[in-house]
């Protein structure tokens, strides 16, 4: 049902580059894995949040005295119980810290928290919400960025002119001169929708504040460290007095590394009541009161030569920022950068405007601005190839990045396998032969980052750290701050540690998701952990190994020109692998030699001098075979092939899972996952009306993995699993273009849009006939 092939495979490793079962597997298939959703503490109260029914209003008064009379209600908190800190994840930039989470005097979107209740049951807490009386002064609202930037639009944040929250400018080369060289210029407007992260585990937190002034929070997070630091900021506490626990997390996808209502309100309630408080969002709350993928309006002008050489591109983007900044500022930059991918432009100019509106805030989501960028770019490239009568694969190929290419002022590409991706997709298309009349194939190319180099969070710590401790029986404790959210980072780190140390994956216990015991790490976002935490783990394991080998050298009496190594728990001279000793024996001797102190290896990673964006980039090309029912406009995905370069694969089983999963989310973005708003209200905040890919909609996901070597990554590895969220929407659009000649400029591509486009096309054809 799926074909997985590795092109140019290497096999110089013992553990790495094999199929390794996820080390959390037994816990997850037996129900033993305990998520925040499952946490129950003695004396625990249940919290519920009162939310704004208005998209824009002043809060004049909150009276919760009636709620307090209900038996079982322990307490209510409002913005007045907080320090009123305007917080945000871009901590270095005060003007981008704009969200109080529990509003003090004004609400800016429907669903914004106003008060929170704690009671002995969830039912009582929910009932108590009806007895909180809020007086509002409703203000005029605005919902679309192109309306919100008008002079007469209501002001959403005080002093923010025309509601422009962030602007970003990227430019290289002489853009107008490069356009001057173009023999063909095309311009298009696109509209890209939002998307819900839709983690299976909704936002959840259990906060427990105790009289000694310590706070422990179990939460569903992508970065335990971020939440430790963010909570410290809003509660006026020291980071070290806050412990975040997140062993198992039911999905993240970019939506769980900012401070959310569950975390903040449970902490404020617990601090007031000195009892543990649990808040779990309902699915509806998770839809209306978290954040979403950033909706974008894209203007794209592209100039090319008649032979298909790309000359220049200019893009202008207006994003619907919703009520607050969140990670939207990063998405605004990254969409502009990846819009240039994976091509070489002589001149490139991007201007992005993130605009506040009175809607659900938008933020990062798997792909981080790039799925929108590629939906526009990769369709326009396809149309240009058709306009010029060129082969779309060859036109892409001749303009693509290559090893050693420098994106001017932005990035240096140290590894790039895209050229072979074109070969693999061509082969796949050829192998399909003639397709049925209602089917066509669309392709789309892209690239993605392997972790960001930026430090808007203003951490004083290394971006990633790891500690390797070796026990007397040869078992290994690996402490990392990398956050396991299902992507398999615990397994990836265990593999890297085992490979570097020369032991088995089963010898390694990974400790993560606990800020009391694990080193700080920025966490799981921007595809950073494999490269950054992976480098830290490799360094820590090599440090421990070096300490062990010192003892082995001392006792071996070998000539200094010979090297020792450890593989599969066997310590040996590389030149004479049969001569050696058992790893455990060496560990015991080393312990004795160190007067009983355990061997501890330390490692860390922070990118330096790696351009503006990321230390490394993945590349990929995807082909999707699409079938359309002309009567209903319904899309069906029949088959797919992804040619993909993630450097050296660490674990093929994990890699396949990441690619298939990213593809399903990307397909959902392309044609199913639609978030319609009316007067600021999301119209489908439930899983009946919000459609996503189910098992019956998922096509085969064939993969050709191009094995390259990325010098900055651990063992040559780079990003996998986020980048593949980027190409699919455009690939579906391109299939429709080849099937019917229609151009889809809005995503998700919904049936009525296809029917309208077909109708329009028919009318135009008839008009032409009539004229003849």
């Amino acid at each position: 049902m799926n074909k997985y092939t590795v092109i140019n495979p290497h096999s110089k490793f013992t553990v790495l580059n094999t199929h390794v079962h996820n080390i959390d597997g037994v816990a997850k298939v037996t129900g033993r894995a305990e998520y925040t959703f499952d946490v129950k503490l003695p004396g625990m109260l249940y919290g519920k949040i009162l939310r704004s029914p208005h998209p824009h209003a002043k809060i004049l008064n909150i009276d919760y005295s009636r709620a307090m009379e209900i038996p079982g209600v322990y307490g209510v908190v409002t913005g007045k119980d907080t320090l009123g800190v305007k917080q945000g994840i871009w901590r270095r930039y005060k003007d981008l810290c704009d969200e109080q989470v529990l509003s003090v005097d004004k609400v800016r979107y429907i669903g914004e928290p106003i008060a929170a209740v704690a009671a002995i049951t969830e039912e009582i807490a929910e009932k108590a919400l009806d007895y909180i009386d809020v007086e509002y002064e409703v203000l005029p609202s605005v919902y679309e960025p192109l309306d919100a930037i008008k002079k007469e639009a209501p002001e959403i944040h005080e002093g923010v002119e025309r509601n422009i929250n962030v602007t970003r400018h990227i430019e290289w080369g002489e853009v107008e001169e490069a356009f001057g060289e173009a023999e063909y210029v095309r311009e298009d407007w696109f509209k890209c929708g939002g998307q819900a992260h839709m983690c299976m585990e909704t936002r959840a937190a259990v906060a427990s504040y105790t009289p000694e002034g310590k706070l422990t929070v179990w939460t569903s997070t992508q970065s335990a460290y971020y939440h430790q630091a963010l909570l410290a900021g809003v509660l006026g506490m020291r980071e070290g007095d806050i412990r975040i626990l997140a062993k198992y997390v039911g999905g993240g996808f970019g939506g769980k590394f900012e401070l959310d209502g569950a975390q903040f309100c449970s902490a404020v309630l617990s601090k007031k009541l000195f009892r543990p408080v649990k808040i779990v969002f309902t699915r509806e709350e998770d839809f209306i009161a978290t954040k979403r993928r950033t909706p974008m309006f894209y203007y794209v002008r592209t100039g090319v030569k008649k032979d298909g050489t790309l000359c220049a591109r200019e893009a202008k983007v207006f994003t619907n920022g919703g009520a607050y900044t969140g990670m939207g500022a990063t998405a605004l930059y990254l969409t502009g950068f990846f819009h240039s991918f994976p091509y070489r432009w002589k001149g490139y100019r991007y201007d992005g405007y993130r605009v506040y509106t009175n809607t659900l805030p938008s933020t990062s989501m798997r792909g981080f601005g790039a799925p929108q960028a590629m939906f526009c770019s990769e369709q326009q490239i396809e149309w240009i190839a058709a306009d010029l009568g060129l082969d779309p694969i060859e036109m892409r190929r001749k303009n693509s990045h290559h090893e050693g290419y420098e994106v001017p002022g932005q990035a240096t590409i140290a590894s790039c396998g895209i050229d072979q991706c074109y070969d693999e997709i061509r082969k796949w298309i050829d192998s399909k032969g003639k397709l049925p009349a209602n089917r066509a194939i669309g392709i789309s190319a892209c690239g993605f980052m392997s972790g960001g180099i930026f430090n808007w969070f203003d951490t004083p710590y290394s971006f990633s750290s790891a500690v390797v401790t070796i026990n007397q029986d040869g078992t290994v404790e690996l402490h990392v701050g990398a956050q396991e959210i299902g992507q398999g980072s615990n397994t990836t780190m265990a593999i890297i540690c085992a490979e570097a140390l020369g032991v088995k994956v089963g010898d390694i216990k990974v400790h993560s998701g606990d800020t009391d015991h694990c080193p700080a790490d920025l966490g799981a976002w921007g595809s950073r952990q494999t490269l950054m935490t992976g480098n830290a783990v490799k360094m820590a394991a090599e440090d421990a190994k070096k300490q062990l080998l010192e003892f082995a050298y001392a006792q071996s009496g070998l000539n200094i020109v010979y090297d020792l190594d450890i593989k599969n728990g066997w310590v040996h001279a590389i030149a004479r692998p049969e001569r050696g000793e058992d790893f455990v024996q060496l560990v015991r001797k080393a312990l004795r030699g160190k007067d009983g102190q355990r061997i501890v290896g330390r490692g860390y990673y922070t990118p330096h001098r790696k351009g503006m964006i990321s230390p490394a980039y993945s590349y990929m090309l995807q082909g999707v075979e699409v079938e359309v029912d002309e009567e209903t406009g319904k899309i069906k995905l029949c088959d797919s092939m992804t040619a993909h370069d993630c450097g050296q694969p660490i674990n093929h089983l994990g890699l396949i899972g990441q690619l298939e999963g990213a593809f399903s989310m990307a397909a959902g973005y392309g044609y199913l996952e639609y978030m319609p708003f009316e007067d600021g209200k999301l119209m489908n905040p439930n899983l009946v009306d919000y459609k996503m890919i189910r098992a019956t909609e998922m096509p085969p996901a064939n993969i050709a993995e191009i094995d390259t070597y990325e010098p900055e990554g651990p063992y040559g590895a780079k990003e996998a699993g986020e980048g593949l969220t980027n190409p699919t929407a455009a690939a579906i659009g391109n299939a429709l273009f080849h099937l019917f000649g229609i151009q889809m400029k809005e995503c998700p591509i919904r049936p009525e849009m296809i029917l309208n486009a077909l109708k329009e096309k028919k009318e135009k054809e008839q008009e032409k006939k009539g004229k003849k």
Binding site: H21, V26, A27, V29, G31, R283, G654, E660, I693, M698
Partner: protein, 161 residues
């Protein structure tokens, strides 16, 4: 509403509960009996995270009242393994990487097992239909389909693993 006494048989064990008659089966299992393997991901009977088996058939436990399940054999994810030995379908999920965050896995495993109880040799399409009621946001389902297919073909029975 007056509380009621009822007995639920979960994973072969009788549990006596004194609960509000409006209590959903999923609430009884998680909150009253304390078996938290079974998850909950929506309020609209849409996601399948709470799927359990009732007399071997897959049922979303948020769609029935606890009282309606009295007298039936209820199986949750905790009931699949026997004396520390994983069931073939659990081994198949591990071998194929058929979960990532793992939140849908308890329900998905129940739908998969119920399908195999009913249909020993499902086609790929029958497998897909069998788990259509379960949302997985992480895997893209194909690895789950491979696992169920492998389990159906006897790849994970005791003798072979």
């Amino acid at each position: 509403m007056e509380k009621r006494l009822l007995t639920l048989n979960v994973n072969g064990q009788d549990y006596e509960l004194y609960i509000n008659p409006k209590t959903l089966l999923v609430e009884a299992i998680r909150d009253h009996i304390g078996l938290t393997g079974t998850k909950r991901g929506c309020d609209t009977v849409s996601c399948g995270a709470c799927t359990v088996m009732i007399d071997g058939m897959a049922i979303k436990s948020c769609s029935v009242l606890a009282m309606q399940a009295e007298g039936y054999q209820i199986t949750t994810v905790e009931g699949l393994e026997v004396n520390g030995k994983l069931a073939p379908i659990q081994k198949a999920f591990i071998d194929n990487g058929s979960y990532q965050c793992g939140f849908c896995a308890p329900g998905m495993l129940m739908s998969a097992q119920a399908l195999l109880n009913e249909n020993k040799n499902p086609t790929e399409w029958e497998i897909r239909e069998g788990i259509e009621g379960n949302i997985c946001r992480c895997t893209g389902y194909n690895s789950i389909v491979r696992a169920i297919d492998g389990a159906a073909k006897g790849k994970y029975t005791e003798a072979k693993s």
